[in-house]
């Protein structure tokens, strides 16, 4: 009876081999998938008990892991919580991670492939792996200027401000107000974190939303920069005479487009430069009708509208020229779109990119916020190199637009952003999208106009205590943009 015993031995061998193959499947082949499941507390616990790398701005850690004596070894701490909340995001045991804490999790937690060598060294030394650090492109003074400018307007101001280096796409400042305190969400006390989460979600000011890039709003007259760019690229010159009258009528349609003031823009015929300086609705409505929907859309897209992936390290809302899947525009709709109304909607980041594209000889650089990825020992693993996103306009058109925008500061609506001794190019906007709501105040600018170092977009959604009639891009948003530009130029 040895033959059946031998066959049984083979049977047992097959069973043990099956166990081993299956163990390989679970622990190796399928492990990444299992580890990535969001109810897997082990991975989270391990990350929480490791030293997570800091997020650095200049020489400061704005997010870092401090030793903790509770159930986890480290407590994530945000040193300037309100100022950087929408950049760092939060790192919560219950609510997961958000913004850079999420998008840079691989580096910060130490599991990124670029940290492989460090992990092997930690393994050999029987050390817990430590995370790498992430250096941001943020200029702390510009960030503070933006934050203080917005919060000083009034107690419950909502809005956002973005500053870009037009030559590289580096994000120098990106602020959304109201901010929030990510420390409370990162608390290891689940009750406290839950309470903070509840409060933030119940807050009518919606502090968790990043208004600088995750939301889009009607850009109002600042969109006339895009229309002007389209015009200059399609045969118009800065001194081309355009319609400066009080009203624009359409054949066969009863709608009439009027200027804000109700009067003409100074004369029946004015130059394109003058039209931009006084933000003449009739002139740009007429130009828009002349150029047509396709030319305007192409120009907007060339600045980054319609692109779902404009910013490299963080998610961003798609700015739009028309609503998705909209029917073709009729003439009044085209004219309204040309002055930044109807369905046109852009994030403040997108409007900063418009200014940056004009400032950078017509080339829009792709915005990014992570400047360097560093190992735990601070050696640089990867430095981000600038990347071209689009050729928005030719350098000639860019130069013409720059001159026109300087006129807006010297002779037009944007005088509030003038910096003594420094040429500034700018455009204001006041978007009235509905009668019930206060108009949005916009301000888009860059400086120095002859050698641009910074491009800015400031957006004030609602400044409590400011009367409806006093809301204007130049008045509310201009001084903030000025402060931001000064902080960068004077460094």
């Amino acid at each position: 009876m040895n033959r059946p015993i031998r066959i049984m031995a083979i049977g047992c061998l097959v069973m043990f081999l099956a166990l081993m193959v299956n163990a390989n499947y679970v622990q190796f082949l399928n492990a990444d998938e299992l580890n990535a499941r969001n109810d897997n507390r082990r991975v989270l616990n391990a990350e929480f008990s490791r030293e997570r790398g800091p997020i650095l701005v200049a020489n400061d850690s704005v997010a870092r892991s401090d030793p903790s004596d509770d159930e986890f070894e480290y407590q994530r701490t945000y040193t300037q919580p309100e100022l950087y909340a929408h950049l760092t995001g939060y790192y919560s045991y219950i609510y997961g991670a958000r913004d850079l804490e999420q998008s840079e999790n691989g580096v910060l937690s130490g599991s990124d492939p670029r940290l492989f060598v460090n992990r092997v060294i930690d393994l050999v030394g029987s050390e817990q792996p430590t995370g790498g650090s992430v250096l941001l492109t943020i200029d702390p003074r510009a960030q503070r200027a933006a934050y203080e400018g917005l919060t000083n307007l009034a107690g419950n101001t909502t809005g956002a401000a973005v500053a870009l280096d037009p030559n590289t796409g580096e994000i120098l400042a990106m602020v959304s107000v109201p901010g929030y305190d990510p420390n409370r969400l990162a608390s290891h006390d689940p009750d406290e974190a839950e309470k903070a989460w509840q409060n933030l979600n119940d807050d009518p000011g919606q502090p968790l939303r990043d208004r600088s890039r995750e939301e889009i709003y009607p850009p109002g007259s600042t969109f006339k920069l895009v229309t002007a760019a389209a015009a200059l690229s399609n045969g118009y010159e800065p001194d081309t005479m355009v319609n400066g009258s009080a009203a624009l009528t359409f054949k066969g349609i009863s709608y009439t487009l009027r200027n804000q003031s109700g009067d003409s823009c100074g004369a029946e015929r004015i130059t394109l430069t003058q039209a931009l300086a006084v933000s003449c609705n009739v002139a740009f409505g007429d130009i828009g009708r002349d150029l047509g929907e396709a030319a305007l859309r192409d120009q907007a897209d060339a600045f980054g509208f319609g692109d779902s992936d404009v910013i490299r390290d963080l998610p961003a809302a798609v700015s739009q020229f028309t609503a998705p899947d909209a029917d073709p525009l009729d003439e009044p709709q085209t004219s309204l779109s040309a002055i930044g109304q109807f369905d046109v909607a852009a994030s403040p980041l997108q409007m900063a990119m418009v200014a940056a594209g004009i400032a950078n000889n017509g080339t829009v650089m792709r915005p990014y916020v992570v400047s360097e990825v560093r190992g735990p020992d601070l050696d640089v693993l990867e430095a981000t190199s600038p990347e071209r996103l689009h050729e928005a306009v030719s350098s000639d058109v860019a130069a013409e637009l720059t001159q026109m925008m300087e006129t807006v500061v010297t002779d037009g609506t944007a005088g509030s952003a003038a910096i003594p001794g420094v040429p500034v190019a700018a455009k204001t906007g006041t978007a009235q999208s509905s009668a019930e709501r206060k108009p949005y105040a916009w301000f888009v600018s860059f400086a120095p106009a002859d050698n641009p170092q910074v491009a800015v977009a400031v957006f004030v959604q609602d400044a409590t205590g400011v009367a409806r009639t006093d809301v204007s891009g130049g008045g509310l948003a201009g001084p903030i943009a000025k402060a931001m530009m000064e902080s960068v130029i004077s460094r």
Partner: protein
């Protein structure tokens, strides 16, 4: 000597065993110290008492083998000492985790060491009392009766206790144990003794079907009884694993005794029918199958299997290291799911090594069966080895989601007294048969008419 052929020099190989026992101790004690270093950064304070206790037990078994079974297989003992030591260290580690989470169960390491001592005492007792395994054959039906009684015990009122839906425990005051573990051992002896007598008629061929001789209809009685017995265990005790184990064991021994593959076909069909019937009838079987196919369909119902998978995945290739994972997140991480706990902290490498150790135990058992000269010994050794293999396959396969999960203990690793005692007894019996087989025994005469016993040459 004639049965073993010329040139066979019986060797005791006890020196090799001692060397391997020391290595096995190093595995267990190393793991124990590793737990201390991993959890608190210090060598555990009781390393001398605990380690001393384990070393004493290991060396005691070795000394007893030298005395009572000097020719026994030298590899079996070190293998199970390594497993037992590793299991103790893991249970010790899980005690820390349970205490950390403030759970009321445990600690388990102390009781497990006591049970190890009791198991070793049982090992010594079996070797001492059973001087010749062939004597056991005279008690064939006694063992059969004992097995039935043991299986019925948990069903009695007062004595029997239901734990987690399975009625397989017996409680006597502070002591509780699973009689099914001992019943397994008794059943092996009963099946073997029974088949030695009945194998001739059972081997008669009936109808021939695609090249396989099916058994005669009138001989189906015993297998039907075994089948119904297994179903009884499933229905009344709701113990899927034992049911499968008992039937598989009988089937394998029937096949080995008769050399008729037809029995495997008949048994396989009966198994399929029983499995299908129980899937249709019992909610808990459906639950197990669903948890195997798609555990993520219900994260509450299949929490345990999901946590086991997460633990193993988190362990990865090399493991988190002893004391550095989260094995206690998995319910019953110290008993049913200890394989997943080991996979988490020792990694794929560690789990594979453990599976190899199990495979070696089975291989040594089957080798003993091959060289054994008497039919009864062959069947007992085969039965013990195969039931061991089946049990490891069913429990480790269930925990790692190769097959549906069924509750069985992981031999020598899981926390649990009855399992430890039963498994130590199994190893004692295997070593007794092996000693009998390898010993120079001039008086041994070849069993008449056992023409199937082959001459095996050993070095």
């Amino acid at each position: 000597m004639s049965a073993l052929g010329a040139g066979f020099v019986p060797r005791k190989r006890r020196g090799a065993e001692l060397y391997l026992v020391v290595l096995a101790l190093a595995v267990g004690l190393g793991a124990y110290v590793g737990v201390g270093l991993g959890v608190s950064g210090d060598v555990p304070a009781d390393v001398y008492t605990f380690g001393g206790g384990l070393a004493l037990l290991a060396l005691l078994t070795h000394a007893v083998v030298r005395w009572l079974a000097p020719y026994a297989d030298p590899v079996l003992l070190p293998l199970v000492i390594a497993l037992n030591g590793l299991g103790l260290a893991m249970i010790y580690r899980i005690d820390f985790g349970l205490a950390d989470r403030g759970q009321s169960v445990g600690p388990f390491a102390g009781p497990q060491l006591t049970w190890t001592a009791i198991g070793v005492a049982g090992f010594v007792a079996v070797l001492f009392i059973v001087r010749d395994h062939r004597r056991l054959q005279t008690y064939t039906y006694t063992f059969g009766l004992v097995a039935i009684v043991l299986l019925l015990l948990p069903l009695l009122p007062v004595l029997g206790v239901e734990v987690n839906g399975a009625r397989i425990w017996v409680s006597l005051g502070p002591l509780s144990f699973q009689p099914g573990e001992i019943a397994k051992l008794c059943l092996v002896i009963f099946f073997a003794g029974y088949l030695v007598v009945k194998r001739e008629p059972l081997a008669l061929a009936g109808r021939r079907f695609i090249g396989i001789d099916l058994p005669r209809g009138r001989d189906l009685g015993p297998i039907l009884v075994a089948w119904l017995l297994s179903l009884g265990v499933l229905v009344f005790q709701r113990d899927l694993g034992s049911s499968l184990l008992f039937f598989g064991l009988f089937l394998v021994l029937l096949y080995v005794a008769t050399e008729r593959a037809g029995w495997l076909v008949v048994g396989g069909l009966l198994f399929a029918a029983g499995a299908y019937f129980s899937y249709l009838t019992f909610d808990h079987v459906q639950l197990r199958v669903q948890g195997w196919l798609d555990p993520f369909s219900d994260t509450d119902d299949y929490f345990q299997i999901i946590q086991g998978q997460y633990g193993m995945a988190h362990g990865g290739l090399l493991g988190r290291g002893l004391g550095q994972g989260d094995p206690v997140m998995t319910p019953y991480s110290y008993s049913d799911f200890i394989a997943a706990s080991l996979g988490e902290e020792l990694g794929l490498a560690g789990l594979m090594a453990i599976i190899v150790v199990y495979a070696l135990v089975v291989e040594r058992g089957l080798r003993t069966a091959l060289v054994c000269r008497d039919t009864f010994g062959k069947l007992v050794a085969t039965g013990l080895a195969v039931s061991f293999a089946l049990q490891v396959f069913v429990v480790v396969g269930g925990v790692t989601r190769l097959i549906p999960l069924t509750g069985l203990t992981t031999p020598f690793l899981s926390y649990g007294g009855s399992s430890l005692v039963a498994n130590w007894a199994i190893i004692a019996l295997l070593m007794r048969i092996s000693d009998q087989t390898r010993r120079p025994a001039p008086e041994v005469r070849p069993l008449e008419s056992d023409d199937a016993t082959q001459v095996v040459r050993m070095r």
